[in-house]
């Protein structure tokens, strides 16, 4: 008997893998489906017993019609039967796969043809939990949604290998940093230094969109992980248990001038001549010196002893000496709020960093030069300390720094641009800091203006939306994981969203950064450590 078989009760041509290569997946979805760039899909390969993960990188309209112009023929807007033959072609980039034993691997194999494409659930990412680190910054994002229960945590151990935060204004950079700080305060795995010339980290202020924000002091449960050094009034300091910030003259090195000013060659010669002199000696000398005596033809006639500061620069012309004198005067006067002859808070700052606290240097209304001055002085002293600690290791001892410190540099292109030798200390930090447990947290809106050699040293990338194509290309070329297929996603990142690529997590993770205020509210609601914990409760 003849029979009539129904076909396509369910259209199995959709949501099955039709990609052709290891690095590029493809499937089709109904034309009416709502999909987003960045959506993560799970590809279930029943033949191999593996689950592959892929991230959508591109969406395009497609059809089965032989006529390539079917949709531009202008006769009518009405089309029947679009269901099967008109569809969305989805391109995705593989993230890796979990084998039948639950072990994650990089995508070195290809899923079987026609493996089904599904939406992953939170438990599908259980394998990630073990690979995530400690510093929680947000939740994993899939397209427009977040995958609840999959927190994105940056591994603390990779942070001395430098971290870069790349975002244009208004993309949520400050919120990210405060959230990052809160997590650092919570877990206390390394010391984090932040110099804040705007006074917004302490108690908040207004975001770039004008919304009121909270500060680090509002994370009350984590206050043990925070040390603030400030120039604010005593009343303010008492209110939030802040320390007074002081730098002393001996903390200063004349090379710090080169970070603050563009020095000419003769001025640089003077800086070179005083490279071994102490800060107080230099400041005292330039306070007293009369630039008009330079150059000194006959040192003895002026009563200048060999080896004295004036003797060191005896051949300099009066002009450069006058400029350096003025610069040092400006430095001492302009930073008088925290720069004095004797008494420095830097040992205390380094101690707090070594106790794995977030150290906030709060210098509101002090300007860019003061910020760079403080930053360069502290950075240099941290590097010196860590270098000398490393030198102290015996030949057979493990050459691993005992202290880990991450130094934040905002608008890093100011001090890490290509070609500048004046910012030597930051370069040294970028190039060899990780040997001594010193990492840089490089924050910039213009990665293309940061030295490519510095970017190459960065192992953790936090990309938060870059409108400039040149900036995106630099980032994609520098990241340790392949971000090239995620360009559209980077371009379309919304405020508060980021792609985090780090060597600790197996693939670049799209992240919805926690809103700081919500995050600390959650952290503050967690039960505090019992103050009696660890204390003996009896007399035995």
């Amino acid at each position: 008997m003849m029979n009539l078989r129904d076909t396509e009760t369910t259209d199995n041509a959709k949501y099955r893998l039709i990609g052709r290569s290891v690095l590029s997946y493809r499937f089709i979805a109904p034309h009416s489906e709502t999909l987003y760039i960045g959506d993560i899909k799970k590809i279930v390969d029943k033949t191999k017993g593996a689950t592959f993960f892929a991230k959508i990188t591109d969406l395009s309209h497609d059809s089965n019609f032989a006529d390539p112009k079917w949709d531009t023929r202008a006769y009518t807007g009405q089309f029947y039967g679009l269901g099967e033959d008109v569809f969305i072609t989805v391109d995705a980039v593989p993230l890796g796969f979990v084998d039948s034993k639950g072990k994650f691997h990089k995508a070195r194999t290809i899923p079987s043809k026609f493996s089904t494409v599904e939406d992953p659930a939170a438990e599908d990412f259980r394998f990630l939990t073990g690979q995530m680190g400690e510093i929680e910054v947000g939740l994993m994002r899939s397209g427009q949604d977040v995958i609840k229960d999959v927190a994105v945590r940056i591994p603390a151990k990779v942070l001395p290998q430098h971290m870069g935060i790349f975002a244009t204004t208004g993309m949520g950079k400050s919120n990210f940093m405060k959230t990052f700080c809160a997590s650092c305060m919570k877990v206390q795995k390394f010391g984090l230094l932040i110099v804040d010339p705007h006074g917004e980290y302490v108690s908040g202020g207004k975001s770039s969109t004008g919304d009121p924000t909270k500060g680090l002091v509002h994370y009350t449960n984590g206050k043990d992980g925070l040390a603030i050094f400030t120039i604010r009034s005593e009343a303010d300091r008492k209110k939030y248990a802040m320390n007074r910030l002081w730098l002393e003259y001996d903390d200063f090195r004349i090379s710090d001038l080169s970070i603050l000013h563009d020095l000419s060659a003769p001025q640089y010669d003077i800086v070179e001549a005083f490279s071994r002199a102490s800060g107080s000696e230099i400041i005292r000398f330039f306070e007293d010196v009369d630039p008009e005596i330079f150059p000194i033809k006959d040192a003895a006639a002026f009563g200048i002893k060999e080896g004295s500061p004036a003797w060191l620069i005896r051949n300099s012309m009066g002009g450069p000496v006058r400029v350096i004198k003025r610069q040092i005067e400006n430095l001492t006067k302009g930073n008088a709020a925290f720069f004095r002859q004797k008494g420095s808070a830097i040992p205390e700052i380094i101690k707090n960093l070594h106790e794995n606290r977030v150290v906030l240097i709060d210098i509101p209304d002090m300007g860019e030069r003061s910020e760079l001055f403080v930053l360069s002085v502290i950075t240099r002293m941290i590097m010196d300390r860590h270098r000398s600690e490393a030198r102290g290791f015996g030949i057979d001892e493990k050459q691993e720094a005992s202290h880990q410190v991450l130094i934040t540099i905002e608008e890093a292109q100011r001090v890490l641009a290509s070609g500048g030798s004046s910012t030597q200390i930051f370069r040294e930090c970028a190039m060899e800091g990780r040997k001594f447990g010193v990492g840089l947290c490089v924050i910039t809106q213009q990665p293309k203006n940061v030295d490519a050699k510095v970017l190459a040293q960065i192992n953790t990338f936090v990309v938060m939306g870059l409108g400039d194509r040149g900036d995106r290309e630099i980032i994609m070329g520098s990241a340790k994981q392949d971000l090239s297929k995620m360009e559209i996603e980077i371009q379309t990142l919304d405020r508060g969203e980021a792609i985090i690529s780090t060597i600790g997590i197996p693939f670049p993770v799209s992240t919805r950064i926690h809103r700081y205020e919500d995050y600390i509210a959650t952290l503050n609601a967690e039960s505090k450590k019992n103050i009696r914990e660890g204390l003996k409760s009896n007399f035995s």
């Binding site: 008997m1 003849m2 029979n3 009539l4 078989r5 129904d6 076909t7 396509e8 019609f65 006529d67 079917w70 949709d71 023929r73 006769y75 009518t76 807007g77 009405q78 089309f79 029947y80 039967g81 269901g83």
Partner: protein, 338 residues
Amino acid sequence: MTDEYSGAVKEAAGRIRATIPANLVEKFQKASGIKISDFISCTPAPSGEVCAVDGSNVMLLESGSLALAVVRAAQTTFVDMERSRRSVTPMTFVIIGPGEENQDFPVLYADCFGHPPGKPLKNEDITRAAGILRDTVEYWVTETMAKALGTGALLLRDGPLRVSHESHNPVLTRIALTCKERGIGLAGISKRSAATWGGGHPLLPAVFGFAQVHAIKAPWWFRVDPAILDHAAFPQWQHGEMYVSCLHPRSKRPLKIELLAGTRNANEIMDRLAGCSADGRIPGYPYPLLDAHRTVVLTEEIVEQVRGDLLGRLAEAGIDRQTYEILFGDYHDEFARY
């Protein structure tokens, strides 16, 4: 270009031109008495339930003594613009020849309708025989759907409401009866027509030309008076009345539509047909029929696969490549390589 060749081309074109003279519309108007008021304007209406049936046949192998064809038919049903069901018959292999009468026709016919055909099928014209074998499954699908569709549905057939083989006449009669009883509108829609008037002038260009000359805005339909046509072969096998219709303002050509004799709601059927003929890809052609065609068509890829499967089975059955080449090999394939 030689004079001889040029003359032959000119003559061929001239003979075609003679059937479609410059004053075709004028002549047609005079011969048929056609008036503007004979054209009825359509108002595209929701098409409701529409089922389209189509068939397909392909010659797989041909030798001097026999041919192997594959046939199948399909239906696709839409409710307004949504497809509700689509089904297809299995691919059926039929052998045409050797011998005068086709051996597979009675088997296939009985398989479809439960009894042998009234008249045997001759093998002499292989192409025609394959077409009639395909019609057999196509009529079976049409009859099946006539019984299955809801009252008020439209049942569209790709082709006329006229059988090409006597054995199909009772089948089409039954289909017509079922449709009438169940209130189903049956329409046979043809992309081409052999109908002529005035001693060989084609009907469709004449009607379409008249509409254009008189600026009659599509969609429209026109009922053809059989008296104006030249002749009708086997009028006893004809179950429909002929209409010419243009179902969309952007349609490039008219369709010949046949409705069952005595159909009173031609207007409503045409409105519904216009309602499902606005598909942007082929405006003026009822989309369910396009969908049925796409469902049933035996594409080159399908035929290649079937041919490959068949070759495998022939090899298993002990027919070696050389015997196969002798039987079914085509020197044209060899020629095509050079």
